[in-house]
Amino acid sequence: MDRRSEMHRRERRRYVIGYGGSLLLTLAMFGVAQVYGIETVGVYLTIGLLGLAQLVLQLVYFLHIDRRRSSREDLHLVLFSTLVLMIMILGTVWVLGNLATRMHMHLM
């Protein structure tokens, strides 16, 4: 019984850490937008990196995806889907962006 409540506390702490971290990153994201304005590429890059950090944080602390041996199959599934998705997204953006430039549609 004691060990169980110990495990319970530990798992709950995991969620609280994930929540606290996500909260800080969200505040940082909107804070940066508020203070510096959302006009320049540098600011947007910062916001993008903060978003990415939050994505990873939630994958680890909420969805429990990590490099532990037992959850590795699912990690492979996630990584492979992400790879396919990235090829599709970057391919779309690349091809259509290129087209737009050549057609002088001043995209991006």
């Binding site: 169980r4 409540s5 495990m7 319970h8 530990r10 798992e11 709950r12 969620y15 609280v16 994930g18 929540y19 996500s22 909260l23 969200t26 994201m29 909107f30 937008a33 959302i38 006009e39 320049t40 590429v41 600011v43 947007y44 916001i47 993008g48 978003g51 990415l52 939050q54 994505l55 939630q58 994958l59 909420f62 969805l63 429990h64 995806i65 532990r68 037992s70 959850s71 199959e73 699912d74 990690l75 599934l77 996630v78 889907s81 992400t82 396919v84 998705l85 599709m88 997204i89 779309t92 953006v93 259509l96 962006g97 737009a100 549609m105 001043h106 995209l107 991006m108």
Partner: protein
């Protein structure tokens, strides 16, 4: 500090306290991950379309006129908090806490999910008033193909929450019900991940490049 003994799929593991439920959950959870990943492909492609459509405003209202960052901020906080409470509901179930605690976290999650939806629908209505309707431009079509789809997922999650709440009451904490709650928690966390993508790409990206 010992590691949890049996950890065979991502998301919260039921472990040795629910040995039978744990076994039953393992396979279906992996299947559910496959579903989530295919759902991710849908969202990913909608993101790609949105990125290519940011400039295609056809003289209609753009991100600067339409987006309300304060409301988006509130929605972000609400959804993030609901992601925590659905996790706490899951833990309450895993560690056999009194039923009242489980119902409490379920209820809080439901209320947060519904308030998220209310704010989102209010945003859409405000956008429509300014002429931001899906058929106005390619940009708005892409927006309304992506963001309301996420809202629809949240609405489905709320419905699922209600159904599971009823099942918990009627059937009690059987293995099947517990394993369903595990998947609901996964689904809910996944929706929060998509939302992070939406604020970063749709809202901030739209404001930067639109």
């Amino acid at each position: 500090m010992k590691r949890a003994p049996t950890h065979s799929y991502p998301g919260i593991n039921l472990g040795e306290h629910h040995a039978s439920a744990h076994k039953a959950t393992e396979v279906v959870t992996f299947g559910f991950w496959v579903f989530l990943m295919s759902d991710l492909v849908y969202f990913g492609l909608m993101f790609a379309i949105y990125i290519t459509m940011i400039d295609a405003q056809a003289g209609g209202p753009g991100p600067h006129e339409l987006f309300d960052l304060k409301s988006v901020f509130a929605q972000t906080l609400i959804l993030l908090t609901s992601s925590l409470t659905v996790g706490l509901a899951m833990l309450a179930l895993k560690y056999n806490l009194p039923r009242g605690r489980i119902v409490l976290w379920f209820g809080v999650t439901l209320v947060l999910g519904l308030s998220f939806l209310v704010l989102e629908v209010r945003d859409f209505m405000a956008m429509a008033e300014k002429g931001g309707i899906p058929q106005r431009s390619g940009f708005l079509s892409a927006f309304f193909g992506l963001v309301p789809m996420h809202g629809l997922h949240v609405a489905t999650g709320c419905l699922w929450l209600i159904v599971l709440g009823i099942q918990l009451r009627v059937k009690g904490m059987t293995d099947v019900v517990i394993s369903r709650v595990v998947r609901l928690a996964l689904f809910w966390h996944f929706l929060d991940l998509i939302w992070i993508g939406i604020i970063t790409i749709v809202y901030f990206g739209g404001l930067t490049y639109g």
